[in-house]
C-alpha cells in the first residue's frame, strides 16, 4: 500500500487516481469530524465533500515535510467552522437523518428488545445534544482530541493555539459535559 506521502506527491502532480485513494483512506475520519462538529447529517455530508475539494485545490501548496493528517484536519476544521459561522447557529438540525428513527421505532415495537439498548440510545442522544450545545471553540478541541484522537500537540497545530489553551478548552468542555450529563444541570459560569 502506498504511503500518504507518495499519494500526496502524485496528487500534487495532478494524479486523480492517487487523490481518489487519499479520499478513500480519509473519508471516514473527515466525515466523522464534520458530523460531530456540525451535528447534522446533511450538512456533514456537504461539508465532507467541500473539505476534499478544498484539499485538492490547496494540495499543491502543501509542504511535504509537514504532517499530512494534521494539515488535512486543519483544512477540514476550517471548512466546518466556516459553515458554522454561515449557519450562525440558527438551525442546529436534529440528529441524524440516516437510520435513527427507523431503528428507534423497531426497538420500541420489539417486545424482546432489552431496555438497556433503548437507554443507551437515549443516552447517546443526550451526549450528542450536550456536545452540540458546547461553545464552538470547546467542541472543536474536544472532538479533535477525543473522537479524532489527535494529541494535544496536533490539536494545537490544527487550530493555531498553544497546547495550554487546548488543554484548557478540553478541560472546560468536559466540566460542562459533566455538569449537564452527570449532575443534570447547565453550567453557564464556565
Amino acid at each position: 500500500m502506498a504511503t500518504d506521502e507518495i499519494l500526496v506527491r502524485r496528487a500534487q502532480a495532478g494524479d486523480m487516481a492517487a487523490f481518489g485513494e487519499l479520499v478513500g483512506r480519509y473519508q471516514d475520519r473527515v466525515y466523522g469530524l464534520s458530523t460531530r462538529l456540525l451535528t447534522c447529517t446533511e450538512d456533514a455530508r456537504d461539508a465532507a465533500q467541500e473539505i476534499f475539494i478544498r484539499v485538492f485545490k490547496t494540495l499543491p501548496g502543501f509542504d511535504l515535510r509537514a504532517d499530512f493528517t494534521t494539515w488535512l484536519y486543519r483544512v477540514a476544521t476550517n471548512v466546518c467552522l466556516d459553515q458554522l459561522r454561515r449557519r450562525h447557529r440558527e438551525r442546529l438540525c436534529s440528529l441524524p437523518a440516516r437510520d435513527e428513527s427507523g431503528s428507534q421505532d423497531r426497538l420500541q415495537d420489539d417486545r424482546a428488545g432489552p431496555e438497556e439498548l433503548l437507554l443507551d440510545k437515549e443516552r447517546q442522544q443526550a451526549v450528542r445534544r450536550a456536545v452540540a450545545d458546547l461553545p464552538d471553540e470547546y467542541r472543536v478541541a474536544l472532538v479533535l482530541h477525543h473522537y479524532q484522537q489527535l494529541s494535544y500537540r496536533q490539536v494545537a497545530a490544527c487550530l493555531d493555539l498553544t497546547e495550554k489553551t487546548v488543554a484548557t478548552r478540553i478541560h472546560r468542555a468536559k466540566l460542562r459535559l459533566r455538569q449537564r450529563l452527570l449532575l443534570g444541570g447547565e453550567s453557564d459560569a464556565l
Binding site: Y31, V127, V131
Partner: protein
C-alpha cells in the same frame, strides 16, 4: 500540588499525555486527595459517555461525488492554487513547453532523454518571471500539438 492545578491536568493524565514527572505529581496528589480522585472518576464517566457516540462511516457515494465534482471543473483548480504551488507548476509547464518546442523544431521523439530534460529544466528556470498569459498560451499550444506525448508521466517524476 494544589487541587486546581491537579484538576486542570486530569484530562491529560487520563489521556496519557503527561510527561513522567507530571504523571508522578498527579498520581501523588490523587493518592492523598479524595476530592480530586472523585473528579478523576467523573471524568472517566464523561469519557465513557462520549464514547457512546460512535463513529459513522462516510456515505457510500461520497468518494464518487467528490471525484465527479473535481472532474467537472479541472480548470478552476489551476486558477485557485496558492501562489507557491502555481509558481512551481508554472516552472514545470515552462520546462515541458521548452522540451516540446525543441522536440518540434528538431522533429524527433525518442531522444527525449534525461540529459535534455535536465538542460531544459535549467534553461527554463530562468524564465520563471515570464508573464502568466504568455506561458499559458505557450503551454496550451504545445499541449495541443503534442498531446500524445507522455506529459503526465514526466510531470510525476
Amino acid at each position: 500540588m494544589r487541587c486546581s492545578k491537579a484538576q486542570e491536568m486530569l484530562n491529560r493524565y487520563l489521556a496519557g499525555s503527561c510527561n513522567p514527572l507530571e504523571s508522578e505529581a498527579v498520581a501523588g496528589h490523587l493518592a492523598g486527595c479524595p476530592g480530586c480522585a472523585a473528579r478523576l472518576a467523573e471524568l472517566k464517566d464523561v469519557n465513557e459517555l462520549l464514547d457512546l457516540w460512535q463513529q459513522e462511516s462516510a456515505p457510500e457515494d461520497l468518494l464518487q461525488s467528490v471525484m465527479q465534482s473535481l472532474r467537472r471543473q479541472p480548470q478552476r483548480q489551476l486558477e485557485e492554487q496558492p501562489v507557491a504551488g502555481r509558481t512551481a507548476m508554472l516552472i514545470r509547464h515552462l520546462a515541458v513547453a521548452a522540451i516540446l518546442a525543441l522536440a518540434f523544431t528538431w522533429g524527433a521523439g525518442p531522444w527525449l532523454a534525461n540529459a535534455e530534460v535536465v538542460d531544459a529544466n535549467k534553461l527554463v528556470s530562468s524564465y520563471a518571471g515570464a508573464s502568466d498569459n504568455v506561458s499559458k498560451h505557450t503551454v496550451s499550444t504545445a499541449e495541443r500539438v503534442f498531446s500524445k506525448l507522455n506529459y503526465e508521466e514526466w510531470l510525476r517524476r
